[in-house]
Amino acid sequence: MVGKSLVSIDDYTKDEYLKILELAARYEEQPRQGILQGYVIATLFFEPSTRTRLSFESAVNQLGGRIIGFSDSGTTSASKGETLRDTIKIVSNYSDLIVMRHPVEGSARWASEMASVPIVNAGDGANQHPTQTLLDMYSIKKTQGTLDGLSIFMVGDLKYGRTVHSLLMAMSKFSTTFHFISPDELKMPDEYKQHLDKLGLAYHEHKDFTDIIDEADILYMTRVQKERFSDPIEYERVKNVYILKNQMLENTKENLKVLHPLPRVNEITPDVDDNAKAYYFTQARNGVYTRQAIITSILGLN
């Protein structure tokens, strides 16, 4: 992975996932060190994403690296009509690695072919967000002690949610049992189910968000977004069905952890936050260590 861009979760093998997760554990023990001293990392956010940007920048800063970049393309020459290609070629001259977020799908792959330095994709439209997937996997491994033989429940928008798609692809390399809980309008697309069929992995689809979750090791919540519905009445009906409340966790497994890529709106009620099974804020902190592991691996510093 040294010198290679990370654009899609499929760019890494199972062994490479495990290597990143091991390294992330080492950075968690000692997140502040000078390993990136003398390095310049560019963070190019052509659309705003405050949490992701801060996580990357914190990761780099804690390791002693310097950041250049922008958090909104409105303040750059992209607004004067500069092509992505030119921006990437120029910033390649100024930095050792580029972290980019862009609303156009496939933009990160294209950039990786234009750039003379490695690209880390921090989200290209609805397509890929691989560092999110790796931090999800790190959170799963850390809380469950393993990635093998787990029962993962995904809840909410399974049709458009890129985080659940990427997590499914990555976790399908381990012997995972999947459960999909969603309204009919937002079901897991067939191509992902066919992928699981091909691998002989079990999955179950549910419409109702009930005590079925008592079997879960991981409960992965997502946001049901209003703009996904053509019928506003349907949205009003559905939006209150896929909400996790504290009492629903009563009979769940001891080792269960609730994950969410954040931001959350109302799909997890605040009373869950104090439950020991709520893990989403720690999950966000894990993102820093995972990104430290990714950036330093690509720069060949470990």
Partner: protein, 155 residues
């Protein structure tokens, strides 16, 4: 007057005959092979009766021979064509076409939000399924299928 058919699409001495083109795909085949840039003699026929296809098209190219990889590009729109190589009025070789594993700059990506549609980047696909045809975009990773495939003109 023994054979009027020969007058419609006459025989060639040396060259290539592409037969069994679905009539509605004929002009796409012409486009994909870039035949409008060739100066050799070319004869086209279309809406000819065919037992297999109903209406078929045929192209006869005098003095033109294709590389297999160029011929394979037409498999996307005309998978069942028969290609005859003619030397001195005799068929010396018969070829079939197969969709290539990698396809560049020939098909439009179905995803309007894809970089290839947004910044005019040349398209690239990996063939993920032959029946039905499925092409996975190298950039946005979405699948373009036979039912929503648009061929990009060579011009």
């Amino acid at each position: 007057m023994k054979d009027r058919k020969q007058l419609v699409v006459s025989a060639i001495k040396d060259g290539t005959v592409i037969d069994h083109i679905p009539a509605k795909a004929l002009f796409k085949v012409i486009d994909i092979l870039g035949l409008d840039h060739i100066e050799n003699q070319i004869t086209f026929g279309t809406n000819l009766d065919s037992k297999k296809l109903g209406k078929k098209g045929i192209i006869k190219l005098s003095g033109v021979f294709f590389r297999q990889e160029d011929l394979d590009r037409i498999a996307l729109v005309a998978p069942d064509v028969k290609v005859n190589i003619i030397k001195d009025y005799e068929v010396v070789d018969k070829k079939v076409v197969e969709i290539p594993e990698k396809i560049q700059g020939l098909v439009k990506c179905v995803n309007p939000m894809c970089i290839t549609n947004q910044e005019g980047v040349r398209t690239k696909f990996d063939l993920v399924s032959r029946h039905p045809v499925g092409l996975r975009c190298h950039y946005c990773e979405k699948i373009t299928g036979a039912n929503n495939m648009v061929i990009i003109s060579s011009r």
